[in-house]
């Protein structure tokens, strides 16, 4: 199977004062369609920089990046926006929802910048909200939702344009452990539908839900191993059974 993501010698330097600091030295790897990858590493290891480059949010200082059939490193800013809109879904640690805006409008936000006809948008947003289990909360504002619910809204937003790839940057970082497992179960369910997921986390037990774990240190990949993922849904079921008993 052809790789969905292929990076070759990808690197990024930041200017700190007068000196160039390499945040990412040189990363070469491939991620296949349908993989669930956990990216781990201590802070400053370059894992977030790597994610931002994968998400076309930042521009690399060097190296090549191919997503699907497109050579990302050669695209203009407008073309990059198009790629972010149609091929990539983002889930952030702090949800990044628009305040004082209903869950439905938050989910529909990416559709405003897409080719989807205006008449279809509410239906698609509604369908994605139902998929993440928030059919009853569509008119709620973020401040009226719990952290877990807010992250579900964010996931629904990431899915609304039918991306091939979901990038999740510490999606459980602001959540308690039970809610974290719920979110991971949701991501695993999406992965089973064929969506490729790349997840940044520094929590080992969260990384264990992925099928592949990549470790970063000092701006380079130091370990890249397959993993037999824990089943988050099963874990939730057993916890529920214990609580009931």
């Amino acid at each position: 199977m052809a790789a969905l993501i292929e990076v070759d010698g990808l690197g990024k330097d930041y200017l700190m004062g007068a000196t160039l600091v390499p945040a990412l030295r040189s990363v070469s790897l491939a991620i296949d369609a349908g993989e669930f990858v956990a990216v781990m590493g201590p802070s400053g290891s370059g894992k977030s920089t790597f994610m931002n480059l994968l998400g076309c949010l930042d521009q690399p200082s060097r190296g090549r990046y191919r997503l699907g059939a497109q050579a990302i490193s050669q695209l203009s800013r407008d073309e990059l926006a198009q790629v972010r809109n149609s091929q990539i879904g983002f889930v952030f640690q702090h949800f990044n929802l628009l305040a004082r805006t209903s869950a439905l409008d938050n989910v529909a936000l990416p559709l405003l910048y897409s080719q989807v006809p205006a008449a279809e948008r509410p239906a698609r947003a509604r369908q994605r909200l139902s998929q993440v289990g928030l059919a009853e909360r569509m008119d709620h504002h973020p401040s009226q939702l719990s952290g877990g619910q807010q992250q579900r809204v964010a996931i629904a937003r990431a899915l609304v344009c039918n991306p091939q790839l979901v990038l999740a940057d510490e999606p459980t970082g602001a959540l308690d452990s039970h809610t974290s497992i719920e979110i991971m179960a949701l991501l695993q369910a999406l992965n089973r539908e064929g969506i490729t997921i790349v997840l940044v986390t520094h929590e080992h037990d969260i990384a264990l839900f992925a099928s592949r774990i990549i470790r970063f240190r000092d701006g380079a990949v130091v370990e890249d191993t397959p993993n037999t993922p824990n089943d988050a849904a099963a874990l939730l079921a057993s916890t529920a059974a214990q609580t009931a008993a």
Partner: protein, 410 residues
């Protein structure tokens, strides 16, 4: 992304931030309303002066009798009767710039009709008088040549006289006795209102000059043709100063004055006084407009601050929008449409408030106000421009950020 979508995004964003939107608009509203009101008040004052000039008649020069010197003591103007009815005819005939010249003989007395009476001033004059004063006859007719020549016992009366002597009844063909002389009312003059000194110009009675001289006043034979004054109207577009000089020359010649001898008459240019007043009221109007402009500029700075803050505090939102697929120009259009919407709504409210306040001032304070379309358009346009510019500029900066930098903005 089409325009309707952009508009929807912008309106949604405005609705979400109602308070901030309202505060931004407040600056525009106050600025626009202030300019409209100030200019309306200034224009109103100017219009009132202009109306006074019109009520006097435009381009008027008055010729008065000179003063008499007797034993070293000089009398006031009119102490010597030195101008004559013929001078008026000569002025009209020989000075090109003069449109009309009306000799006047003034007097006052009790006007009596039945058991009603009213003290008024009367003027004996010629039909040219109405032309000079830009005065029209509201009801009835003017003097006819036969009446002028034969000292006809007829009169034209002002509105005040008509009201006081006849009430609601028609005065036409009624007989008024002035100093015991019965005069038939042939016409009523149109209402003219107060002059700049606050005198009621409608409290007057006109009669043929011969009637006034021979029947009502009864002037001594020696000075039989002398008059109190001559009112002259200079043709539209003619040079007032030059006309005045030509008049003086002609009168000196007619009165056989030697070079070096003082004029035996006075020439007063009434329009000049009013024009000076008009100039000062124009200065006041300009001053008011300047003050209002300052408030518009202050309002503009308010708009600028709120726009700058609003765009800055929304940098993360901009980052998010970019992350989910907004291009730089989508961001830019959104903020531009937001700014235009705020400015237009604020401008409209400002116009409504400004016009309303102007009308209210006119009603309550009794000041004349005159709304100026130019001021309204200028104020609203300027406010819109400020809103758009200061909304656009920070948005332009934000739209050029890398998505990740906007997202991470603290």
């Amino acid at each position: 992304m089409n325009f309707a979508a952009t508009l929807r995004i912008a309106l949604l964003a405005l609705r979400i931030n109602k308070m901030r939107s309202a505060l931004t608009m407040l600056g525009i509203i106050i600025g626009v309303a202030a300019v409209i009101v100030m200019v309306a008040v200034g224009n109103g004052a100017q219009a009132r002066v202009e109306a006074q000039i019109r009520s006097l008649g435009s381009n008027i020069i008055m010729v008065l009798s000179g003063s008499m010197t007797s034993g070293g003591a000089r009398g006031g103007s009119g102490s010597q009767q030195t101008i004559y009815e013929e001078d008026a005819a000569a002025l009209m005939r020989e000075v090109d710039a003069i449109q009309a010249a009306a000799p006047t003989l003034r007097g006052s007395g009790q006007a009596i009709v039945g058991n009603a009476n009213w003290s008024t001033s009367f003027i004996g004059t010629t039909p040219e008088y109405l032309d000079v004063r830009d005065w029209t006859i509201a009801e009835g007719r003017g003097f006819e040549p036969a009446e002028m020549n034969s000292s006809g016992k007829v009169a034209l009366i002002g509105q005040t006289v008509a009201e006081n002597l006849f009430g609601d009844a028609s005065p036409i063909d009624q007989v008024i006795r002035v100093r015991k002389v019965p005069l038939t009312v042939i016409g009523v003059l149109a209402r003219k209102g107060q002059n700049m000194m606050g005198q009621d110009q409608d409290d007057t009675l006109l009669m043929p000059i011969n009637t006034a001289r021979t029947r009502v006043i009864g002037v001594t034979q020696a000075k039989s043709r002398s008059v109190s004054s001559i009112m002259v109207k200079v043709k539209e577009g003619a040079d007032m100063k030059e006309a005045e000089e030509r008049m003086k020359e002609l009168l000196r010649q007619r009165h056989r004055l030697q070079p070096g001898q003082d004029d035996d008459f006075y020439v007063r240019n009434l329009s000049e006084i009013l024009q000076a007043q008009e100039a000062s009221s124009r200065v006041m109007a300009l001053l008011l407009a300047a003050v209002a402009s300052v408030s518009l500029i202050v309002g503009g700075i308010g708009i600028m601050n709120i726009m700058l803050v609003s765009v800055t505090e929304r940098t993360r939102e901009i980052g998010l929008r970019m992350a989910v697929g907004a291009r730089g120009r989508d961001i830019l259009t959104q903020f531009l449409v937001e700014a235009i919407t705020l400015s237009v709504i604020g401008g409209l409210i400002g116009i409504v408030l400004g016009v309303g306040a102007s009308l209210l001032i006119a009603q309550l304070a009794g000041w004349p106000t005159a709304l100026s379309a130019t001021a309204i358009l200028l104020a609203a346009g300027f406010a819109a421009l400020i809103g758009v510019f200061f909304g656009y500029y920070p948005a332009l900066k934000a739209s050029r950020l890398l998505p990740i930098d906007a997202l991470r903005y603290e």
